[in-house]
């Protein structure tokens, strides 16, 4: 190995085939040394803590320290050894200019007793053993999770089973990796990096959890020292774990072209909603730590239910924004569409009154017309869409103001008509279920075949596969196959039993099935408790997100939408009818706004002249938070979903954690700018 060339005092700089200077002391090593020193001292401190009884483990608080339990003994030993190794490694790195590295270890240059190498092996061994112990603890009931303390262990909850399985799997993988490192199997290098990085994240989570608990405890009385041992149980070890993993990770990643953190960053950078996803988790964590109410069913259901409108309108706006245009008139179209829908059923328009389904179709057609007007003005005059739709925003609002004049509110209930029901033949419903089942079976089978092919391809080339993570990929494809198979069979079973039940009902009762259309559009879910306001509209929202995300990323039309927004000239040169795509998108956007209006009418049964006023800016904000570029050509519908959720979470969350609601718009403003900045930065980090 050239790295080992005897350049006098080890100052010789040797470049490995990755182009990185391996033999030299990298700049980042100073950070690693600092980390190791901190870790070493912290470990020894923790060891001392356990011995002197400050940190009682298990159920053994406040007992005499002469009576240490086995876990505590193991912990004393572990922290002492770990602290020793860390300090020894730090000292060695500090003293010697030329530090050992993994590449040399695999080339057989170093023995396992080299600083750094031993450090990695030790950490992985500890992680592996501890994971297995944790899994065992959960199974035997020593470490109950969730709210289920003191229950018999035959009754594990889902959380516990998942945790036990996860910990067990991690333990096995880690120990296998240790064995790989020991036998100098080069694949273990990659595995070690991933394991250490994942465990570092676990450590950070534990630490944050503990830290924020201090926050929770303070206002409720009691001094910080009273609660310190309890808090430290998570913070101390969590932080120590995090720092240890980071130190080892930095050591492992030396000389690697694309270490796991770069892989993760690149993957994120490819996703338009990356900033939004990061922000989403950050906000969930902050609010759930800040308020116990936040993660309650009631709050979550309310969060979803109140954002249906924004969510559905944001789909259209995002779609349009990706094609490089912009629609300020959605708020007015939303109101006008809802108005037409309600008018058709109650007063009638031009003397024509219809039932609910034609009313819905007419409202959608009307909205499509409004959207088409937007689009046609745009392409005929060439005026920017901002101005065009600013005009139509006001113009379309006038429809509502004129029709629903004199401060009136149009109410369904004022017309003394019963809520709309549809009557469906049981056989028809059964047939519908069967048709859906067949379609889903075909789609599912196709997906299953693709995943199965991937799996068998990977299995076939297993022996010759160069990929270090080949076992993981096989596990992953296998998991996909199983999930598709199980989910598919469950859905088919559900549809089949529905069909059978309908046929059975038809035979026994013979009457037609009565379904309230308003409930179908946006009623409450029956199976949740009454205080939980979960609405069926949420389902429609998610379904529309799925459909439009599919259209955008998987179909020809979606490809054209991207091209039209990204470079209209190039799109035109490739024979895409740019104007048609734009007008179509304006129509889609308006129809989605109208759909949101109909769903809202189904719940509230009224339309007031200012319905949807100001909606456009909220929705555009949500789309931008979700990663869509205002200049076009970039964005995702899934991102818009996240964007809307962030918007909604801030609205409810700030109230829950006790922030003055008047600050809300200020916070939203800051968040929008932050989101765009994060999105830009994440995109740039891509190499």
């Amino acid at each position: 190995m050239s790295e080992n060339s005897p350049a006098s005092s080890g100052l010789g700089v040797v470049t490995s085939y990755t182009g990185q200077k391996v033999g030299a002391k990298p700049k980042s090593l100073n950070g690693t040394i600092l980390l190791l020193v901190i870790v070493g001292i912290a470990s020894l401190l923790l060891c001392e803590q356990v011995i002197t009884g400050w940190l009682a483990l298990g159920e053994r608080a406040n007992i005499s320290r002469r009576d240490l339990n086995p876990i505590e003994l193991a912990m004393i030993a572990g922290t002492a050894i770990w602290g020793g190794i860390s300090l020894w490694t730090a000292l060695d790195f500090l003293r010697n200019q030329k530090t050992p590295n993994m590449r040399d270890y695999f080339a057989g240059v170093h023995s396992w007793m080299t600083p750094g190498i031993l450090l990695s092996i030790a950490l992985l061994s500890i992680i592996g053993v501890v994971s297995l112990v944790i899994a065992e603890q959960i199974l035997t009931g020593w470490l109950p999770l969730g709210d289920r303390i003191n229950i018999p262990r035959s009754d594990l909850n889902v959380l516990e089973i998942t945790a036990a399985l996860g910990a067990g799997l991690l333990g096995v993988i880690t120990l296998r990796t240790v064995w790989g490192l020991w036998t100098r199997d080069k694949r273990a290098w990659t595995w070690a990096q991933w394991v250490v990085l994942m465990v570092a994240i676990v450590g950070l989570t534990l630490f944050l959890n503990g830290t924020f608990d201090i926050h929770e405890i303070l206002p409720s009385g009691g001094s910080i020292t009273d609660n310190l041992p309890g808090v430290q149980e998570l913070t101390g070890p969590g932080l120590l774990l995090f720092l240890s993993c980071m130190a080892v990770y930095r050591f492992l990643a030396v000389g690697i072209e694309s270490p796991p953190d770069a892989v993760i960053r690149n993957t994120l950078a490819k996703s338009p909603g990356a900033g939004a996803i990061i922000g989403f988790f950050a906000i969930v964590i902050i609010f759930s730590l800040g308020s116990d109410l936040f993660l309650e069913q009631r709050s979550l259901a309310g969060l979803l239910a109140t954002n249906i409108t924004r969510g559905i309108v944001a789909i259209g706006i995002t779609f349009l924004m990706i094609s490089g245009e912009f629609d300020l008139s959605v708020g007015s179209v939303y109101g006008a569409g809802a108005l037409v829908f309600l008018l058709m059923m109650t007063e009638g328009i031009f003397g024509i009154k219809t039932t609910v389904i034609p009313a819905m179709l007419i409202a959608l057609a009307f909205a499509a017309l409004l959207g088409m007007i937007n689009g046609l003005i745009l392409i005929w005059t060439g005026i920017p869409s901002f101005i065009v739709t600013l005009g139509t925003l006001l113009a379309y609002r006038a429809i509502l103001l004129v029709v629903v004049a004199d401060g009136r509110i149009l109410r369904y209930a004022d017309y003394r008509i019963p809520p709309p029901y549809i009557y469906i033949n049981h056989y028809l419903l059964a047939a519908g279920a069967m048709v859906l089942a067949v379609v889903l079976a075909v789609v599912g089978f196709s997906l299953l075949r693709t995943s199965w092919n991937t799996l068998s391809e990977r299995l076939a080339k297993y022996q010759t596969d160069e990929d270090d993570l080949r076992d993981f990929w096989i596990f992953w494809s296998g998991l996909k196959v199983v999930v598709i198979l199980v989910a598919g069979l469950a859905i088919l079973f559900l549809l089949g039993s529905t069909a059978l039940a309908q046929i059975n009902d038809a035979n026994t009762s013979g009457a037609l099935l009565e379904i309230s259309l308003f409930d179908l559009a946006n009623g409450r879910f029956h199976f949740v408790e009454p205080t939980v306001n979960l609405r069926i509209g949420v389902l429609w929202w998610f379904l529309l997100v799925a459909i439009f995300q599919f259209v955008l990323t998987q179909t020809r039309y979606g490809n054209h939408v991207f091209a039209v927004g990204g470079n209209p000239g190039a799109a035109r040169a490739q024979g895409i009818n740019v104007n048609r795509v734009k007008v179509m998108n304006f129509m889609i956007c308006s129809m989605l706004a109208c759909t949101a209006g109909i769903i809202n009418v189904a719940r509230l049964s009224n339309v007031d002249p200012l319905m949807g006023d100001g909606l456009e800016l909220e929705v555009i904000a949500a789309s931008v938070i979700g990663g869509a570029l205002l200049s076009g050509g970039y964005g995702s519908i899934f991102g818009s979903l996240i964007g809307v959720l962030i918007f909604g979470m801030l609205q409810t969350g700030l109230v829950l954690v006790g922030v003055d609601p008047r600050v809300f718009s200020g916070v939203i403003g800051v968040i929008i700018i932050l989101a765009v900045v994060i999105n830009t930065v994440v995109r740039r980090t891509k190499t």
């Binding site: 054209h560 091209a563 050509g633």
Partner: protein
């Protein structure tokens, strides 16, 4: 249709925008498997002439023959159907989309999952890689966004795409004006590769240095009129540059009769 029939022949093309006569009767032709350098100073009418050929503008007067048949090209779609592919300096590709998606833009491959047809991304990626390799263009990853590529790489991909889709005429609009020397070199190589594969190429530029090496013939226009039409062996680089600049044919060349196959 004999081999002597030019691929494209434009006769007496005139174009005026309002009262401004941009083209005052230009004859222009491209033979099969020929690289023609279309030269002229800024505002000479090169772009207008080409936009008439690609259907962006319709001529005020004049005829166009494609493979000997009179054609009316009224939209970019018509030009595309005839097998004319234009590569614009900045309009060739969509920067935020991947190489593969750009390559197949407008003629995406799909496969059916039950009743819905979805993009066949894997096949598109693989064929993109193969097709570009075929003309000698190596790409790292077809799923990479075009925005991460250099100007020369973008031009190359656009050329590779035209070759792959079996076009007959490739129009390169100022393809090298923003490129480094090394990249210009590469674009010229791919241009030559396109010719080798049977395409004709119109190479528009105002700088003779960029095209002298690969072109078979030069057509020079100035102020909406053709200055001259010369085979490469008839003129020197200096003389062409002079003609582009002044719009006048040097004394030495005036006696030479019109050349070409007609």
């Amino acid at each position: 249709m004999s081999a002597a029939t030019p691929l494209v022949e434009m006769r007496g093309i005139q174009k005026s925008f309002g009262t401004v006569n941009v083209l005052r009767g230009i004859d222009f032709q491209v033979d099969r498997q020929e690289i023609v350098g279309l030269l002229g100073d800024n505002g000479a009418g090169k772009s207008t002439l080409i936009k008439i050929l690609t259907g962006v503008h319709t001529p005020t007067k004049g005829e166009i023959f494609f493979e000997g048949n009179p054609v009316r090209i009224t939209s970019p779609h018509d030009a595309r159907d005839l097998g004319i592919e234009t590569v614009y300096q900045d309009l060739a590709l969509v920067p935020l989309m991947s190489i593969a998606r750009n390559f197949w833009l407008g003629q995406e491959l799909t496969r059916n999952i039950g009743p819905v047809s979805v993009l066949d991304k894997e096949v598109m990626s693989n064929r993109t890689r193969e097709a570009l390799l075929d003309v000698g263009i190596h790409i790292r990853n077809p799923d990479e966004p075009v925005g991460s590529l250099s100007g020369g790489e973008r031009q190359s991909i656009a050329i590779g795409r035209a070759v792959y889709f079996g076009k007959k005429l490739l129009i390169l609009d100022e393809p090298t004006s923003a490129l480094s020397v090394g990249e210009t070199r590469k674009v010229l190589d791919y241009t030559y590769a396109a010719k080798e594969r049977g395409l004709s190429v119109i190479f528009i530029t105002h700088n003779i240095g960029h095209v002298h090496e690969v072109a078979d013939r030069f057509t020079i226009i100035s102020h909406g009129q053709k200055v001259g039409d010369f085979r490469k062996d008839e003129v020197t680089e200096m003389e062409v540059a002079h003609m582009v600049m002044t719009g006048e044919v040097p004394e030495r060349l005036r006696l030479v009769p019109e050349t070409g196959d007609d």
